[in-house]
Subunit: 411 residues, 2 copies
Amino acid sequence: MAVNLPLPIPEKLTAVRGVELGHAEAGIRKVNRKDVLVLKLASTATVAGVFTKNRFCAAPVQLCKAHLGSLRADAPIRALVINTGNANAGTGESGLANAQATCDALADLLDCAPTQILPFSTGVILEPLPVDRLVAGLPQAIANLQTDNWYNAAQSIMTTDTQPKAASRQVVIGGQTITLTGISKGAGMIKPNMATMLGFLAMDAKVAQPVLEQMTRDVADRSFNCITIDGDTSTNDSFIVMATGAAALEVNSTTSAEYAALYEAVLGLSQELAQMIVRDGEGATKFMTVTIEEGKDVEECRKIAYSIAHSPLVKTAFFASDPNLGRILAAIGYAGIDDLDVGKIDLYLDDVLVAKSGGRNPDYQEADGQRVMKQSEITIRVKLGRGKADATIWTCDLSHEYVSINADYRS
Amino acid sequence: MAVNLPLPIPEKLTAVRGVELGHAEAGIRKVNRKDVLVLKLASTATVAGVFTKNRFCAAPVQLCKAHLGSLRADAPIRALVINTGNANAGTGESGLANAQATCDALADLLDCAPTQILPFSTGVILEPLPVDRLVAGLPQAIANLQTDNWYNAAQSIMTTDTQPKAASRQVVIGGQTITLTGISKGAGMIKPNMATMLGFLAMDAKVAQPVLEQMTRDVADRSFNCITIDGDTSTNDSFIVMATGAAALEVNSTTSAEYAALYEAVLGLSQELAQMIVRDGEGATKFMTVTIEEGKDVEECRKIAYSIAHSPLVKTAFFASDPNLGRILAAIGYAGIDDLDVGKIDLYLDDVLVAKSGGRNPDYQEADGQRVMKQSEITIRVKLGRGKADATIWTCDLSHEYVSINADYRS
């Protein structure tokens, strides 16, 4: 039941020069299913990533951080390897050894060092990774490496996703046409705290390593770090931005006009990919934008936005298209802002002013709330009347289907 | 679908000398339904309460705080009045006027000052209280005031509760038999932050006002403040302890042996009443105890306990009796304890050691986890290995029924 989520059209996903993708059916958890993806990069590429802040961060995430943390210019990242069906999280030392074995095997096949590989896993936590099957699937993935393979790549990283998530865009910067294509996955255990599980974005610009790192952090904070489905921050969240350097555009500073233009393009595509995850949220029937305005700082705006977005009572009311909007006030009230003056708060549902100065707007008619609640896309807007900061996050409703999916995810 | 929640037996609810209870059908939201309760107290009674920390605290809660905050010995609290069907929250100035009008009307009928009345409301937020119908119902409630009316009282405060919640106990302290009886209500919007919506406990001991206040705060922190159903802190949470002074026992200090004995009795009864709310949690099929041990301080233990108890993924796995226990590790990991060393963490499900030193226990068999998951009462125990503090909270699972109930609560 995805919400206004267009199925990506393979022909509209633009190849990015310097990126080849190959998938395999390795039988990690189920047979006859694409479950391994290898993404091979040109030797000119720079790569940056942000990862989950969950303390139980998965073994592959630990290796990714180590490999990106000790990058040398003469030994760039050459490939990413992603498996579904098993998260390799909560697996202790043997989990780390399995992730390492995966990197070793792919490095052998690609003739590079294991530190030039970034590994990713997604699936069930606390179960041993079937590393033998994963490694056995790598030659198949390498055999079908192609630049024009983004659609299959998006399919290969799906778990409870109902459809692949991918998008492309092209921008002209400094007279150069730059191509960006990204894929993402995730539908549950989604409240990224750094980035989401999983987002990969490639472009053919040439971007200096520190510049790409800054861009990745800033973009993550305004895209993947602004979505939530169930408030569960995954052990495996990863968002990776790759700049292959195949195009003539070079971006070496965060203060240049080229940086600003590229940043906007990367941000726009990242927000699109992040919102796709919410649109495909487990059991989602509504796509909700929560905007908090006039806060003292961004942090309190985000706190209130998440308090609303995580409230099971708010989420079920939206599922029912029931304008039981007092539940939003309750969620604002318990967000933990101790000095909040509720007498200054206005609440809008799209264009409808529901609550004014902390009480019901005398002109509010339930029919107006009902009209908005029936839409598939709704904006909840709260004005706090205490400052100039604002924040926006995206979320979905809580339906029977969410319970069904998660009550038998493993079966 | 309440979990092991015995229906209270009217004959087993012991009258407390100094307390009379009368109910009415006032048609606040629905007709032919007990929806108003008046609880009248002896003039010798002391009363203490704790209330929600939700910033959108309801109009009656604001009046309760004001009346208890300016108590004078010569003008004690004489009555409580509780209505269901409307929370009188998010109602601004007119809500306060309506709560005041309720106190004024009851004070007239009982010949006391309005400040000697404590008002309570529970139901839908953001809708005007039909104060005329409420006031019109008061004479009916007063006409049937009786000491032996606790069962009807428990029924009168129900909303989405599937059954009334009430319990009694008697203890002998200093040769005196002390009787305690309490009632509670609530099944959704339950994550009390001070006390829950609503708990009332009366006893016939004589307890000095400051002593009763201290006892009430301490008991709330170990009973009603240790439960959660959906993480939504209500606008109306209130927990009230009344000591009528009808018995000969006098407790004038928090350091006496009598205080300790009475505290244990009040705590035991309060925990029973609080757990009844969880057992009757909206759609609940499992009663879960979450105990975090070996933490640095109680605060971090509670943080982790709530992170587990609020995770929709953990809750749906328990609904399904599916030992998908990696979800518990994920919830521990994102609880926000930045220096948590996951390599020291052990996870038990009842007596089964599931994860050891942060990874899967090599001896763990899924059949053992499955056996425990099928029970209706389950303890999740986490050892952090970093200190001596601990905390316990009680919660329930997340089922289809929760979504059904909250998707049409108002209809």
